[in-house]
């Protein structure tokens, strides 16, 4: 029953954005580069001050919560970047527990168990004793998701979780995101792939250059017309049957030609 209402207003970048996300739901933020997705994102995470509007979590104003309390509600999954030090993967996941520890606290047995459970949940237990900096991009992304899960948040906020990943890893990470939502987490993620919205059956906010944004279900928002308006390119949205799957996907039209497989 948890429910975030995002009333947000930023004079310079994004204005009057509002959205709703409840547990078990996925909200994709879609939009061209430089439109303010990241700014919006940082505001939701509390990394930037709100210039207007408000963010409500469970009926409470998010800005009245301390960083530590906020981190117990919202977990952040950044884009995988290599840190300067070669931490052990399990240590990285345990770091997600920090918000539950006192200022001078150290993780204890309970925290190790929770971290181990989170790794199991994502089926990456086999990475536990590896060195984080030596993992592939996809593995690092999964570890960061596990770390955010160890925070035991109600919501996950993910910054382009599939960028920089290869074809297979993109699918794997996306599958896990859908699974987590099924297990009851609310997920907000930015993405550059309209297809992801279809694949996760997510709600979507499409942000455009003039500050206009459209929110709704995938079918309502991801239309050929809207995508053309947002990205300035022609797009085809296709439906197809493959075995027992109903597929819906979009494909930019990059050439004038009417035939050929592209």
């Amino acid at each position: 029953m948890k429910d975030v209402r995002c009333g947000y207003k930023d004079k310079t970048v994004v204005e009057g954005f509002s959205a709703n996300i409840s547990s078990g739901g996925i909200l994709c933020l879609l939009g061209p580069n430089g439109v303010g997705k990241t700014t919006l994102f940082k505001c939701i995470l509390g990394l930037l001050p709100l210039m207007g509007g408000r963010i409500m979590v469970d009926g409470r104003n998010a800005r009245e919560l301390s960083p530590s309390d906020y981190a117990k509600i919202i977990g952040y999954v950044p884009q995988a970047r290599t840190p300067p030090f070669s931490f052990n993967v399990f240590d990285v996941v345990v770091m997600g527990r920090t918000t539950h520890l006192g200022i001078f606290g150290k993780p204890e047995k309970k925290d190790f168990q929770i971290a181990a459970k989170c790794m199991e949940r994502l089926e990456i237990s086999n990475l536990a004793n590896r060195v984080y900096t030596e993992l592939s991009g996809g593995e690092q992304q999964m570890v960061l998701i596990a770390r955010a899960l160890a925070q035991e948040p109600a919501f996950l906020v993910m910054d382009e979780p599939t960028s920089n990943l290869d074809f297979g890893n993109q699918a794997r990470v996306l599958k896990n995101i859908c699974l987590l939502a099924e297990q009851g987490l609310g997920i907000i993620m930015t993405t550059h792939q309209p297809d992801h919205v279809f694949q996760c059956e997510a709600d979507v906010s499409l942000i455009m250059h003039d500050g206009v944004h459209l929110s709704g279900t995938a079918e309502q928002v991801i239309t050929e017309q809207n995508l053309r308006k947002a990205y300035g390119i022609d797009v085809a949205i296709l439906n197809a049957q493959y075995r027992e799957y109903d597929l819906c996907f979009c494909r930019p039209l990059i050439q004038g030609s009417k035939t050929g497989c592209r």
Binding site: P83, F85, S86, N88, I103, A116, V131
Partner: protein, 376 residues
């Protein structure tokens, strides 16, 4: 077609194997492996502690006035049992209690302090190439000391002025960073401000050296800048350093788990529930206190704060939970060994700063090769 099917079967078989392995490597296995590595870390700490004790005992015997080991035991038993030091041991006892023991204690504490602040700064600035004097502490303290010597204050006066300059430099850097960054002082602006402030104070030191009397003041300034424990090993200094070490290192040790999170960057740390501004302030204040008090008592001793956290990281990994205590122990041992060299290598005394630099530079290059993946 058949080969295709066969290939598919193999793949499935492979998958099943992987599932089995995942089940084995489950929660308990992870925790067990983690427990094992912590056990190993504990052993390393214990071994280092024993090495430290052994080095202290060896250091007692080293020096111009040779005190053989059995005489040391003799003196200690006589003092502990309260029967008074015998006539034959009086002189050796004096050497030990007035000169050697305070110097050894001071050396260890300075090594530990420099290592701790180096490790803390490296995490804070997310950069393993950072050393404790990144914010200009050392160069400012050096300038303060040079000016104090020039004016001709007492040795305590030199220490106080050096300390004041060191702290002042960091305050200046913080103010600059805040003013330039307009409230949101980033790490980069802090480092750049540190570079500017350092260079300013180095110019002041050069100025002081230029106008100093070449017969007595200049050698004194130069010697001070090289760093040495020769004049600083007094009981008073031991107590000063002990207080600084407790005030500076205790908060760092207490927060050492959070320092891990900080090294992932400010945004991630904040999203993991850390009050980043408060924590950064505490780390800067504590590290500055440690560095400034070391520098003001013993002159600028370079490299220790840079290489000891590195060596330790190669030994126990980057987790501050074990890295910080290990680096402090290691720093104490390293400093003590180096100081023993400086006492024993030539009849007079070689400034310890020279030796740390001579050892530090090649050692660092060696580690650049060896530990490349640590900071790639």
């Amino acid at each position: 077609m058949e080969t295709c099917d066969a290939g598919r079967l193999t793949v499935l078989g492979g998958n099943e194997n992987r599932l089995d392995r995942d089940d084995v490597t489950s929660e308990n296995a992870i925790i067990q492996a983690h427990e094992n590595s912590r056990q190993r870390e504990r052993w390393i700490l214990i071994v280092l502690f024993i090495v430290l004790i052994a080095t202290i005992l060896a250091s007692l015997t080293i020096g111009r006035y040779g005190v053989p080991f059995n005489q040391i035991i003799d003196i200690f038993t006589q003092r502990i049992t309260g029967q008074g030091v015998s006539e034959a041991n009086k002189e050796a006892n004096l050497v030990l209690s007035v000169i050697r023991i305070p110097r050894i204690l001071l050396t260890i504490m300075v090594g530990a302090a420099l290592s701790a602040s180096g490790a803390a700064f490296q995490g804070l600035f997310k950069n393993p190439m950072v050393s404790p004097d990144i914010l200009g502490v050392s160069s400012a303290a050096g300038a303060g000391a040079a000016l104090a010597i020039l004016i001709g204050t007492s040795s305590a006066g030199v220490n106080i002025v050096a300390f004041g300059f060191g702290i002042g430099a960091v305050l200046l850097v913080m103010l600059l960073a805040k003013a330039i960054g307009r409230g949101s002082s980033t790490v980069l602006i802090m480092v750049l401000s540190g570079v500017v402030v350092s260079s300013f104070f180095r110019a002041m030191t050069s100025l002081a050296k230029y106008i100093a009397d070449a017969d007595n003041k200049l050698p004194e300034i130069t010697f001070w800048l090289m760093g040495s424990f020769a004049k600083s090993g007094s009981n008073r200094n031991v107590i000063i350093m002990l207080i600084a070490l407790i005030l500076g290192a205790a908060p760092l040790l207490a927060m050492r788990w959070r320092m891990n999170v900080l090294s992932f960057g400010e945004e991630e740390a904040k999203a993991m529930g850390i009050n980043i501004n408060r924590m950064r302030a505490v780390i800067v204040v504590c590290s500055t206190l440690l560095t400034a008090s070391s520098v003001c008592l013993c002159g600028s001793i370079e490299w220790v704060g840079l290489i000891m956290p590195h060596i330790t990281r190669l030994l126990v990994g980057p987790n501050y939970r074990v890295l910080l205590p290990t680096a402090m122990l290691g720093g104490g041992i390293f400093m003590l060994v180096v100081d023993n060299f400086s006492r024993a290598i030539i009849p007079g005394e070689l400034p310890v700063g020279i030796i740390t630099s001579l050892i530090g530079a090649p050692l660092f290059i060696f580690m650049l090769f060896k530990g490349r993946r640590d900071w790639s």
